[in-house]
């Protein structure tokens, strides 16, 4: 089985040649519920380096958020169980660390931005208080210094008149401003890695552009790693360095951003790209991937995508395709990736 391992790639093969900041390695997670066992994550591997943006794409229910929750240690356990794999931060497996060690990384070195800023902020405390609390609790700052630091952060995320608004409550801010406050909180303790789960889905395009530009700029300034989970392929094209595509709890394709858009090597990715409506012309019928997402309690044997795949052959129903290495940093979990790449439909 060929797997892509960025650590072993040849010397001087690009900016990401340094050891990755975070590596998810063959992760398995399942949910044990009354109805049965849902195999949500079935061997996910990806990595991200300092200063790099990894975009995670994939169908609704494919496990993007569960992977992120496992990294952050906020998975619902039970019913969730981690049944295999490692999550290495600077080469050290977080799943084997002591609680104390882990606590120092999660929330401080790695922080997370959620989709819904209003529910992630506490409605009964002022925004300034919630920001300041990060500094008093984790940095042992005095209340007064923490407040000054909060105003500085609000300034940095472009909240107008931050000094006057520091005592306002979350509901007094617009959706875009609340999302910027979430970014401020995520940045407060100078993390090395940020995980953003659909940070702009609830926002309209003008505010979305502001938020993404801000995030990208701060990431550059601070050389942070960024894992961006989204289904907006426009946002991905704008900011990502590389992409991992998920389907049924696996990575089915992984590639640098340009190569993936130009020449997808997995039928699911190809279908996804063909489904996008375009701003610059009015097409006829939109392409849609046929069929339904898999039931995680009964994932199809062989390749999980086979019942919906126009390229499927007999072997797809019996053998799980490994992630074939196509070139450095590029892989496809499809038996027929070469055919897909050439663009001919088989079968």
């Amino acid at each position: 089985m060929t797997t892509i391992d960025t650590k072993n790639k040849p010397e001087g093969s690009g900016p990401a040649a340094a050891a990755p900041l975070l590596e998810v390695d063959n992760l398995h997670v399942e949910f044990r519920t009354r109805d049965g066992v849902a195999k949500a994550i079935n061997g996910v591997s990806y990595d991200v380096s300092a200063g790099e943006t990894l975009a995670v794409l994939g169908e609704s229910g494919s496990g993007k958020s569960v992977t992120a929750q496992t990294i952050m240690g906020i998975l619902d356990m039970p019913p969730g169980h981690i049944t295999g794999g490692e999550i290495r931060f600077h080469g050290k497996d977080m799943l084997k660390m002591s609680k104390e060690e882990r606590r120092k990384i999660r929330g401080q070195k790695i922080s997370m931005i959620f989709q819904d800023a209003l529910s992630a902020l506490n409605p009964v405390y002022s925004v300034g208080f919630q920001l300041a609390e990060m500094f008093t609790v984790h940095r042992g700052m005095s209340k007064k210094d923490a407040k000054l630091k909060s105003i500085e952060l609000m300034d940095q995320v472009r909240i107008p008149a931050a000094k006057d608004r520091v005592n306002d409550y979350p509901h007094q801010f617009s959706g875009g401003m609340r999302q910027r406050i979430m970014i401020a909180m995520a940045l407060a303790l100078d993390p090395e890695l940020i995980i953003a789960d659909e940070p702009t889905t609830a926002l309209d395009v003008t505010v979305q552009a502001q938020v993404m530009d801000l995030l990208a700029e701060l990431q550059r300034e601070r050389n942070m790693g960024l894992i961006l989970i989204t289904h907006d392929l426009g946002v991905v094209a704008d900011v990502a360095d590389k992409i991992a595509v998920m389907y049924a709890g696996r990575i089915v394709e992984q590639a640098p951003v340009r190569e993936l858009y130009r020449q997808p090597t997995h039928p699911y990715t190809k279908g996804l790209l063909e489904s996008i409506p375009r701003l610059d012309h009015k097409g006829r019928e939109l392409y849609a991937i046929k069929g339904l997402p898999p039931n995680l309690m009964r994932i199809p044997s062989g390749c999980a995508f086979n019942p919906r795949c126009p390229y499927a052959q007999d072997v797809c129903r019996s053998e799980i395709p490994p992630l074939h290495e196509i070139s450095v940093g590029r892989g496809s979990a499809c038996h027929f990736w070469e055919t897909v790449m050439e663009g001919e439909v088989r079968g």
């Binding site: 617009s174 395009v205 704008d238 279908g271 375009r278 009015k282 849609a288």
Partner: protein
Amino acid sequence: MAESPNGATSADPRKIVKPVAQGEPILQVRGLVKHFPITQGILFQKKIGAVKAVDGVTFDLMKGETLGLVGESGCGKSTVARLLMNLESITAGSVLYKGDDLAKLSGRALKAVRRNIQMVFQDPYTSLNPRMTVADIIGEPYDIHPEVAPRGDRKRRVQELLELVGLNPEHINRYPHQFSGGQRQRIGIARGLALNPEIIIADEPVSALDVSVQAQVVNLLEKLQNELGLSYLFIAHDLSVVRHISDRVAVMYLGRIAEIGTDAQIYDHPTHPYTQALLSAVPVPDPDGREHRERIILTGDVPSPANPPSGCRFRTRCWKAQDICAEQEPLLEIRKGLSGLGAHDSACHFAEEKDIVGAA
């Protein structure tokens, strides 16, 4: 009011209201206003102001067309939808259905009109009651309008509807949680179609779906339009989806329409600075485009609808604003000097074309 003699017993509500030819206005919205009062005090509520959510909106919806409605969060799109559905009371202005003012209709005539305007909601996860089966959810409108499907006929009707939207008719007794997001949105659409409406108001019907599921739902809506001659008011914040599905597009800003025209007029020949900024902000799914695009980033936040700026409402964020913009409200009209596709209604004193999308 032309009611056919057999109107009340007909299964098809379209037969009891007068017909409108393809391309004629079926809905005329004139100077629509909705102000939500801001009150103070616990014992004696005192009105201290108003949120001007919708503040003078005028447009036509033609028979068989799709009118897209776009604009920033909070600009009043959903409020327009709710006013058209009679879920909110109108503060001022009027809505004409086939030439008849809805405010002047009552009794059976009003009920017939209501039946002809249905809504599909944004969120497939919360808009369906989790304790009701699919049969109950889709069949619920028949409780209010039993004349459309007599009791004994309901199950068959619901199954027909399920088939029409591409769901398995055998799943009639399942509950919402047993369906995926895209399937749930189809259930919402089936429910919207239950009473054979002529007009569907769809408020962000695909926003919560991933692109492949979104494509399935958009295709379904277009297929149903072709088969049933439906008119759609399609509200969304994804401008690419709106272009794909719409014949005409209206751009709203802070309770008013900034610009309205055909999809080519709005997307290829926008003349209002707000539309231009909105289009320039759309991320393009092509990594090679990212260095070459000119993006108009708007500074400042949207002003409060309780206290909108004088004159042009966009002036606090507009890079072209002059003194006149604060003094005089720009009318929604075709400005002199514009020709070709640039000549369409735009509420800007200095309306001029700027190629945004093609420049990418």
